[in-house]
């Protein structure tokens, strides 16, 4: 069967079985291997991607259910690795083995898109589906707060920069 997917802004058609999970289409057909396989049953969150803006587990999303959808993977989160979460993750030195982190960041990105200033409880709820076997949780929480603060600052700066007359010398 042929399915049309828009992955990280690029539309592509794949010829694969209807029940093939999106995870393996991404990894083995489209060779986007930033999205990881951890459990295959939506229990660990290592395969988290955005499907039409919502965080989903790619291991339990059949390609047929993603037909025509817009998908974002870790590779498409920012053009140059400068998404506030990607910066905060490096500033806080979050990763240990790193295997779960793409999924963690994608869950966090979906959270911040909905809730720009999350509380600890918001974070715990949004991140509950993402396991980290190395247990980097305390730093993940810290990095999400930091990214939220960075985003808020950027927004304020942009608002200031966009005030009428600001650009006229």
């Amino acid at each position: 069967m042929a399915y049309t997917l828009t992955v990280n802004g690029r539309t592509t058609t794949v010829e694969v079985p209807a029940d093939m999970p999106l995870l393996w289409v991404l990894r083995d057909v489209l060779e986007l291997r930033g999205t990881k396989y951890g459990c295959g049953i939506s229990a660990c969150g290592a395969c988290t991607v955005h499907l039409n803006g919502r965080a989903v587990r790619a291991c339990q999303t059949k390609v047929s259910a993603a037909d025509g959808a817009s998908i974002m993977t870790i590779e498409g989160l920012s053009p140059d690795g400068t998404h506030p979460l990607q910066q905060a993750w490096q500033d806080v030195d979050v990763p240990q083995c790193g295997y779960c982190q793409a999924g963690q960041i994608m869950s966090a990105a979906a959270l911040l898109a909905q809730t720009p200033k999350p509380t600890d409880e918001d974070i715990d709820r949004a991140m509950n589906g993402n396991l980290c076997r190395c247990a980097t949780y305390l730093r993940i929480r810290q990095a999400i707060h930091k990214a939220a603060a960075m985003t808020a600052t950027t927004t304020v700066q942009q608002a200031a920069a966009n005030r009428p007359g600001q650009d006229q010398e």
């Binding site: 990881k36 951890g38 990763p95 974070i123 396991l131």
Partner: protein, 730 residues
């Protein structure tokens, strides 16, 4: 950095492939790749190369599985070399023990084993570059200073970059590494500074190549179905039906090599993609030959343990003084039977390995923690010469001891041996959990007595473990030195073993991760029986001089160092303060992998047995120098939370010889909201050589929490996991 086929002259076509005619080249590892980009003008040893343009490339010699050695070991080299950390290139070394010395990731050994040699290796490079500058400028070497990749001569205001000096340095004879002067620690600019992981950017952008992401052209994908009961061979399999499935190239039966820790019998399915191999495997119907391990079960282990406890220990491990006499004259005696289950490692990246058999040579790419052992195992299992095996190290998604064992590497090689293309074996999560090399369970019956002054006068342990005769199964042993041995005048330990057909081995802080719970809980029981405060009871015990009987291997335990961390942890936690009803503070301490750790947990237990670990205080002594404080904190936080997972709910049980739990829904890890919100840690610096941090912070957390539960509720937890007693994360 995506490994690639580099040297076109080295290309070697081994087969023209259906569907594309891709050529398969001789793979050159990242080391050769990096060096081809910046040819060495000067290389004082295997770890350091300096190009004419000043690029410094450092080899990270040990396998990286998330413990941070790929950052930490090169920091040591860079410090003594006086390189600029911001510009050095760090490259994972392939297996080459002749060049790099022992390469393994286990036992928290990377720091103690490499601290001196890597400082010396860096210093040799610095000395030679300074000597080259001295010769160039005709000034005494003593007037020169190396800093951030340049040599400076202050008197004449001259300086030269390492790249400029490289050609001249290359003509000099390297000094004996043992004689070069090392830097004074007070001058360190890299060691001791919180340094982020060097792969962080690649990780957060999804571009780091983990082992499971690594591919070579023309590669196929394999799945391997093994008997649920360890070691059973295939009787029948519907191979023809499997071969007819889309994308399937091969389906065949492999026989085991006789070692359940190496290659066990099974069915290999090789396809163009992993998903096709998996889809074909879902159609596989296989029957297994009868095997004695099929009669094993957790229930039968429990029954055998109970029967063995009715008799004295089958053999003695240590026996000092008159234990029974002292017990009978003690003021108060305490008895308790403790147990803990088998558990799995469950690294988040399931086991995988890529192997390619060509021209009588085996080439392997895998994230092994012990690549040298992996090479030996492949050679032995397949009957090929070790010299014909090349082992490339890839980044592993978590280790925890699982990747010490190389069983998946042997499987990949055995499958590759049968076909003419590179093949990647990628286990499912279920494969990984049902075919782990498990942390063995165990049972302890402990009896001890205290005198009128509240001191322990006698201690006896009967350890029911696994093995044959007097030979323990791997990681199922207990040494004669186990604390409080040497601190109790009448001390006995004996064991009885249950035969086992389950593969067992080292899980992060092997043996310690289970025994700490038993011994530190029982010490707590004794403190309460003696009417003493649990912290003071430990401090009093540790204040005595340790007296081990002659002829046993000393483990190097230093009571004064433990005394210091217990005191520190108690002070950090405000031990002794009043806490609300339902809240308890618990302490435990443990020595493992040369590290001394004491931990206090503040635990809140509600009326429904919902548990929250509100805060944990960690005090550790791993010597005089913390090399990377950021990595050190990661290891402490990770160890504590990892231990809480083992404590609450992790358990592998066996029925008909097979593991019952096969995925994270039945083998829960701690999730973010369950983790303690605050873990406060402090290092007690002592004048000892630096030692490792991958493991020693884990063991004390389990008894710290169960002792806190006792303080909060009066319920003494003597078996794990906690979930069995009705507790859950609130």
């Amino acid at each position: 950095m995506a490994p690639q086929l580099l040297d076109r002259r080295a290309f070697l076509q081994v087969s023209a492939l259906a569907g594309g005619g891709v050529m398969i080249g001789t793979y050159l590892g990242p080391v050769s790749e990096a060096l081809a980009q910046t040819p060495a003008a000067f290389s004082p040893n295997a770890f350091i190369t300096i190009a004419a343009n000043g690029t410094i490339t450092l080899i990270a010699k040990n396998p990286e599985v998330g413990q941070g050695v790929k950052t930490m070991l090169p920091m040591i080299l860079a410090e003594e070399l006086e390189a600029d950390w911001k510009t050095v290139k760090i490259v994972q070394g392939d297996l080459d023990p002749e060049a790099y010395g022992p390469q393994s990731a286990g036992g928290s050994q990377s720091t103690p084993v490499n601290w001196d040699p890597l400082r010396q290796a860096g210093a040799v490079g610095r000395h030679m570059l300074i000597a080259a500058a001295a010769a160039t400028w005709d000034v005494p070497a003593g007037e020169l200073q190396a800093r951030l990749g340049r040599v400076h001569h202050a008197a004449s205001n001259r300086s030269a970059g390492y790249g400029e000096l490289a050609a001249r340095a290359a003509t000099l004879t390297p000094p004996d590494p043992k004689t070069v002067a090392l830097k004074d620690p007070k001058d360190y600019t890299i060691i001791g500074k919180a340094t982020p992981g060097i792969d962080n950017r690649a990780i957060v952008t999804g571009t780091l190549t983990f082992s499971s992401d690594f591919t070579v052209p023309g590669m196929l994908w394999a799945q391997y179905e093994k008997a649920p009961a360890y070691g059973a061979e295939v009787a029948t399999a519907n191979l023809d039906e499997v071969r007819a499935m889309p994308g399937v190239r091969h389906a065949f039966i492999l026989k085991g090599d006789g070692d359940i820790q190496s290659l066990v019998g099974g069915v290999a399915i090789v396809a163009d993609s992993w998903w096709q191999a998996k889809a074909a495997r879902d159609r596989l119907q296989v029957t297994w030959q009868d095997h004695p391990t099929m009669r094993q079960s957790s229930a039968s282990f429990d029954q055998q343990a109970e029967a063995l406890f009715k008799a004295p220990p089958a053999f003695s491990i240590t026996n000092v003084g008159d234990v029974e006499g002292a017990l009978s004259s003690a003021t108060k005696t305490v008895e308790g039977t403790y147990s803990y289950p088998f558990i799995a490692h469950a690294p988040l990246e399931p086991q995988n390995a890529l192997a390619h058999w060509h021209d009588g040579k085996m080439e392997i790419w895998a994230p092994s923690q012990t690549p040298a052992r992996g090479r030996q195992m492949v050679a032995k299992s397949l009957g090929i010469d070790e010299a014909a095996i090349t082992f490339h190290l890839l980044h592993g998604g978590g280790g925890f001891g699982r990747r010490l064992y190389n069983d998946s590497v042997v499987e990949a090689a055995a499958i590759a041996r049968q076909i003419d293309r590179p093949v990647k074996l990628q286990w499912t999560r279920e494969d990984d959990m049902r075919h782990d090399i498990y942390r063995p369970g165990g049972y302890h019956r402990l009896r001890a007595g205290v005198d009128a002054a509240g001191r322990i006068v006698a201690w006896h342990g009967h350890f029911v473990s696994y093995g044959e005769g007097e030979r323990f199964a791997p990681s199922a042993n207990l040494p004669a030195t186990e604390f409080p041995a040497g601190y109790v005048a009448h001390f006995g330990l004996g064991a009885s073993l249950i035969p086992l057909g389950v593969p067992t081995g080292a899980l992060r802080a092997p043996r310690s991760n289970s025994v700490a719970f038993v011994y530190q809980s029982f010490l707590d029981e004794l403190a309460h029986a003696a009417g003493k405060d649990p912290v003071q009871f430990r401090l009093d015990l540790l204040s005595a001089t340790r007296q081990l009987p002659e002829g046993i291997n000393n483990d190097g335990f230093d009571g004064a160092r433990m005394h210091a961390v217990v005191k520190t942890a108690a002070e950090m936690a405000g031990w002794g303060r009043a806490v609300p009803k339902g809240t308890g503070l618990g302490i435990a301490c443990y020595y493992s992998h040369r590290g001394y750790f004491a931990e206090v947990a503040e635990v809140i237990v509600d009326a429904d047995k919902g548990v929250r670990v509100a805060k944990v205080w960690v005090a550790g002594d791993v010597g005089r120098q913390i090399i990377n404080p950021s990595g050190a904190e990661q290891q402490m936080q990770g160890s504590v939370i990892d231990g809480l997972g083992e404590l609450m709910a992790q358990e592998i049980t066996y029925e008909n010889g097979a593991a019952v739990q096969d995925n994270f829904n039945r083998f829960p890890l701690v999730r973010m909201r369950e983790a303690p919100p605050v873990i406060e840690s402090k290092f007690v610096l002592s004048d000892n050589a630096p030692s490792g941090l991958g493991e020693p912070a884990l063991p004390p957390i389990l008894p710290a929490v169960t002792n806190a539960i006792f303080a909060a509720t009066g319920e003494r937890i003597r078996s794990l996991p906690l979930r069995k007693h009705g507790y859950y994360w609130a």
